[in-house]
Subunit: 553 residues, 2 copies
């Protein structure tokens, strides 16, 4: 159901932002959009109605409206559709903005110094929380330990999430606060690292075992959640992002989004995927919610974790890890559980979004969808999140059921060397194989997995186009046969990401009737060199005809 909300949230927004809603013309831009046929179309001006929707897209020679209330001279700058991140953890990103970030540390010692400094600067926090460490980047060759972390902070519990969010590192006080000992029962689907030659916990907890510590961390207060969410919106808008798919929305997250919506401060569009089937039902009831707050919020479906991550060897593979021959990783759901949840979702017209990283996980997700799809016909848009390592034998199923692979191009540049070590030279052919998925008839949507990676979409587009990292490595691109066109990369972060969330016609392409969400950038992403594409700067971000970010402010 689509309620023609006339004033409400937008009116409140406008009290803060300018200009007031009325017909307006964004004139003299180098506009790029995805037209009604899914083709790139260039235009010169946007006519926006007083609901913040596109009324008309004008070429240079088109007649202008006789009178509009507001007119903006774009001064020939490049205008593109508002960017959409198809896989982000909104509240995680917001909380990360308020916590310690170790993602730029290059050694254990550097990390310990940063942790110690942060603790000193935040004396009132009962726990020190952070994220972003990566023992591979540090060249450590092993996980860090609680004892090492005690050297940085010994007066309070500390818990730090690994860069991939699939492991965490605790100090001794955190172990004590959580009551974790050598005899603690480790949840299925998880692993507690132990001191070599002993049963004692070493301080790192993988996948489901993270719960041993995280359950002891005091829950954030609502005011902190509201602040975190505001930070997330601000950061995303500064990167040109106007909409996201939130992957794993809890009831607390949802209430935070609604508080923002109810109070008129929801500026981001959120396509929400609940953290499990119970959360889905609690949030939405028997059916997805309507689009709320003028197409700013909808509970679309449910996020499921079928396996862990490649970095922590939690990804579930058909064959053992090349660099850990006894280990194939773990399924986090049994076959019957997975199918039950998919059926429960499909019965209510909810979209399942299945996290699958390893070859076995992808095969299992594809096979479950294949079994169930026939009984649930219609436009389902089954989603596999990450679809990271796919056995080429399994690719055809993507096409058979129009399955959407919701992938994160930037992961490919971050993970390349690690993935080669984990998978060896043969399996790597099915890794991050986006072109192959398209060729098999599957669909793509692009995202960042923020806060696992930066939500900046331009390095992601560049990675999809070049298969090289920010240093241009490897020369010629990694598995260059998987390179996509610039048009595909732009669509992946706009129209295709909207389609993946049933949002076409509402936003994502800048066609008449859609919300006027757009970004002014400092270069033309379809024309500049690849290295320059990566460095694209956002000048202004507009939502429904209202400016929500300006680089000059």
């Amino acid at each position: 159901m689509r309620i023609p909300l006339k004033a409400a949230a937008t009116a409140a927004l406008l009290a803060a932002a300018s200009p007031a809603l009325a017909d307006q013309l964004i004139e003299n831009v180098e506009g790029l959009r995805i037209d009604e046929n899914g083709e790139i179309d260039r235009f010169n001006a946007l006519w926006i109605d007083d609901d913040g929707r596109i009324r008309q897209v004008l070429d240079r020679e088109d007649k202008r409206p006789r009178q509009v209330d507001y007119q903006l001279d774009g001064q020939g700058r490049t205008l593109i559709p508002g960017l959409i991140d198809a896989h982000v953890h909104v509240m995680g990103l917001g909380v990360a903005q308020l916590t310690l970030d170790l993602s730029d540390t290059n050694s254990l010692e550097e990390a310990l110094a940063k942790i110690s400094r942060f603790a000193a600067e935040n004396p009132s926090r009962p726990w020190i929380l952070g994220r972003g460490w990566n023992q591979e980047r540090w060249g450590l060759g092993r996980f860090p330990t609680a004892e090492e972390l005690d050297r940085a902070v010994s007066d309070r519990p500390v818990y730090l999430a690994r860069a991939d969010n699939h492991a965490g590192w605790a100090n001794t006080l955190a172990l004590e606060a959580a009551g974790v000992t050598a005899t603690s029962e480790v949840p299925a689907g998880g692993r507690m690292e132990r001191i070599v030659g002993s049963r004692q916990p070493s301080g790192v907890f993988v996948d489901a075992a993270e719960d041993l510590i995280t359950r002891a961390i005091p829950a954030p207060r609502p005011a902190e959640r509201d602040l975190a969410f505001a930070e997330a919106q601000k950061l995303l808008h500064s990167m040109g992002i106007t909409a996201v798919a939130d992957m794993g929305t809890t009831i607390e997250d949802w209430q935070t989004f609604r508080r923002a919506g109810d109070r008129g401060s929801l500026t981001l569009r959120i396509m929400s995927y609940a953290a499990g089937a119970d959360a889905m039902e609690l949030i939405a009831g028997a059916r997805p919610t309507p689009w709320l707050y003028e197409d700013r919020l909808r509970l679309n479906g449910v996020k499921l974790y079928l396996d862990g991550a490649l970095g922590s060897r939690g990804a579930w593979l058909k064959q053992p890890y090349t660099d850990d021959p006894g280990n194939t990783g773990l399924p986090l759901l049994q076959p019957a559980e997975l199918r039950n949840i998919i059926v429960r979702a499909a019965t209510g017209q909810f979209q399942p979004a299945i996290h699958a990283i390893g070859t076995a996980a992808n095969a299992e997700a594809l096979s479950a969808i294949h079994e169930i799809a026939e009984s649930y016909p219609g436009d389902r848009r089954w989603r596999i999140e990450h679809a990271q390592i796919v056995d080429p034998a399994d690719l055809p199923l993507f096409g058979e059921h129009d399955i959407i692979a919701s992938v994160q191009p930037i992961h490919q540049t971050s993970d390349r060397l690690m993935a080669e070590a984990r998978l060896g030279p043969d399996r790597i052919r099915g890794a991050y194989a986006w072109k192959s998925i398209l060729d098999a008839g599957g669909k793509l949507a692009f995202g960042s997995d923020a806060p696992v990676e930066s939500p900046n979409p331009f390095p992601g587009m560049a990675a999809a186009v070049t298969r090289t990292d920010a240093s241009g490595e490897p020369f010629g691109g990694w598995l260059p046969e998987q390179r996509l066109t610039r048009e595909q990369a732009l669509a992946g972060f706009t129209a295709d990401a909207a389609f993946a969330g049933f949002a076409e016609g509402r936003f994502g392409r800048l066609v008449p009737g859609e919300r006027a969400d757009f970004v002014l950038v400092d270069r033309d992403p379809l024309l500049v060199e690849a290295a320059e594409l990566r460095e694209t700067k956002v000048l202004e971000t507009w939502m429904a005809g209202v400016r929500v970010y300006s680089a000059e402010e």
Copy 2:
């Protein structure tokens, strides 16, 4: 914050109801309202604007608007403000509409026959649930047993709530499904009845002990909740009720209300009091929600249970029960807990609504408010729910802090004989002592405690005015010095109930600017005989200028 929602929910409502929103005139009625000075005012016509608000209240001689889009001839019928129930359990009422009702049974045998019939008529329900039994009414002189219930249903678990909702009756299969045995640990604040001369559970569970069984009952599915809520709205509108205070809103209840709001099917106004401080925070965050859906929903505060009920001797008394000399009942919160929750609520501008039945509970609630009120100045509207048995020595505190006694006049007629047995002749002077509370400077708001009692407000008004029951007993009224005027009774179910929920200016009085919520009734409640007042029939119920109930349909 008050958002001038122009269309949204109302627009959707109107798709179903007539007439479409536009200026309209309700002409030729015998109108009664509470005017700007809190006085009863009689009028002849209502002019309603296209937002569904009162534009002008017209007397017979006042000039009519030159043009309105719709005009209704009231044919001289009596029009009163939409009635407000200041204490109801909305979802409990809705679920009760879908479950077995034993409140009309006069003996154990009659009840068993009705239970057996209901089970046969509902073969697919995994549990048989119901409510409304009362061993006092049955003249049983003791609680019924599981064994007796087995005679009615032995193929499925059965659990039936007592009329006061403070005890429940299980059959043997329910005990088994819940794993309850002689050695089960009984939660503090509760009592498990046992077979005389044995430790075996007899089948009845009082107050907190009810959890031993209820935790085993499968949670209703969202579609069932939506249905139950629709039933509750329908029933309430049929009794002239346009707004309620929901006492003990869980997150599931709240999501049900929001689903209705989001889909345009929320026709009732709900002032919500969360089921405890955690639910309050989860639902609303750090502050009460804004008024949502055009003044149809707001989370106002938190409902706390300080004691149980009088019937099950769970009410907390200063001195022992007259008919159970070893027992003073139980406090359900310790002094520090109570004060902590009140402070937590007050810090966020939430309203605490404290359930207090017995003399000790009321003294404790009053004293906690007294201690805290000074640190939290401003317009707080502290609420005590029921305020049923107050030690006269404690009355002055009602006036000192403008405390609102949210009382249920109909309870007085249902409870009279039981209360006399429980309390004896002296303490009874402070029972249901509404006039004394007013005289002490306190404020009143009236409700029904539905589904504990019928939500029909007219018997409640009659009880407040006459202090007699439907048979006119006792002659001259019970504690007749506590009788209120008809004007006070009408205000208790309208303006005063709105004030108790911070809703004045939005609804409750029919003053210009307020929502046009009104009821057409078949007699004038200020003029008819008391016995006739009790029998008042609702002809039509209107919400924001839209008819939501007609007796003729």
